[in-house]
Amino acid sequence: MKELLNNKPLFIGILLVAFMFLVAVFAPLISVYEYDHINSESILQPPSVKHILGTDQLGRDLFSRMVYGARISLSVGIIAVGISVLIGVILGAIAGFYGGIIDKIIIILIDIMLCFPVLFLILSIVAILEPNIYNIMIIIGLTSWMGQARLVRAEILSLKEREFILVEKVLGASNFRIIFSHLIPNAMGPVLVSAILGIAGAILVESSLSFLGLGIQPPTPSWGNILADAKSSLGIAWWLSVFPGLTIFITIISYNLVGEGLKKYLK
């Protein structure tokens, strides 16, 4: 515990992650205005006491929109990563434990998936189905499990031969029990780090999708689609481009700090 607190970058990361989390959870309480409250009288206002971060081209309060955007981004990030961890851990464990042809098939599947540039695949699928938040979560999850699978497979390959597993085998434990009660829990360290870094990645992907117009659809605010709107007001309303992007940036850094910090701690 003490080491955790001594590691400054890790500590800052955890604080930021927690802060963003609280903002997302308490969004309705924090935001002064409704995120879709259009006010044609205060279009494109710079930051002021009335609107801390300014307003957009429809007079909506930027701060309120961004606070709700936090909800979107974080929920997409966490659920997408949850899905990818689920798929990755299961496939990786099966590949590592059973070896042989099953392993080969899973490895080839991973290699094939890795051949596709991530955004290409996601954009294609999102275009075909409709871009709503649930689809996005699932699609991101379905296209980012490969890293987790490889990690788990590697860990299990090395754990497989260790004594405590052989002991369990001798004691007659079923394969299922060995995989789920013993192997996977021990392999979770690197997976946890990968998942945390994965949340940052998922948030970035969701923002990119929303920016391109194929993610969260307006009027629901996402940091990405606010930035997309900002493009048309470039040069006129600096606050519209700076704040959402800065928030994405800080969020990604915070998860990276936590992930990297945990990596050192686990070593």
Partner: protein
Amino acid sequence: MLNYIIKRILSLIPLLIGISLISFTVIHLAPGKTTDVITSLNPKVSLEARAKLNKIYGLDKPVLAQYKNWVKRFIRLDFGESFLDGRKVSEKIKERLPVTLSINIISILLILFIGIPLGIIGSVKESSLTDKLITLFVFVGFAIPSFWIALILMDIFCIELGWLPALGMTSLDFESFGILEKAIDISRHLALPIFIFVFGGLAGISRYMRQSMIQTLNKPYILTARAKGLTQNLIIYKHALRNSLLPIITLLGLSIPGLISGSVIIESVFAIPGMGRLFFESVMARDYPVIMGILAIGAILTMLGNLAADIYYACADPRIRYQRQ
């Protein structure tokens, strides 16, 4: 080593099968027939025309037959015709691919040119202020969303300062320029996009290079080199560097899909006529043949890039090139 290359090329076959399968499946996930989209976008299309389209795309046949059809055309890189303008998909891609490839290649070269020295400095001056600054800089570059920095830079350099053009790859009167002017014009248009690619990509390479160098410098043969009385420069640049560069080659191969993905965003923001932008436009217009085509091409490029990296590695590392006697 020939064995190795042959084995490696053979391993591409399952990958190609997988790529064709996935690109096929992705499109056919669409609820309803793919041709419904064109016809729904253009109500003037008659029923006969619709039936004709269905026949051309083989959509009236069972799925397996459709897939066989797709594979036959996939091998010839024939992805059909675009729904938007009826031109051959391969033509449209051929037009745009060189732009994207050139931007990516220039970016990779710059990333190597800057990132490798940064990594070397970081390893030689480990834990010094310089090292810490480089790590910070690189960490930031890694976390900045490319579309955000694109907007900010566009705002500063194109709108506020007016130094660089914001959109497109060439100016309106490009055709009237002399060769040098043409070159400068393109450079001015591509300066920001390339800068953003490089800034984001430096993180990976320099960090990995630093780690690789540190690991290499701790190897026994470096102690031998020191014991031989070789100068520090000789030890770093001859003995350590070449060994540290080997894994970087593999890393480059692995970063190709990331660069191609990035092209979609950057080319869209800066209106560069490349493959990424074509992909984006096709997705917005639900132009499925083009989408499938670019999806497949993107995957094949990645695959080829990795193959090239692996073969180069096999040539560069004597332990793979020559087997034991």
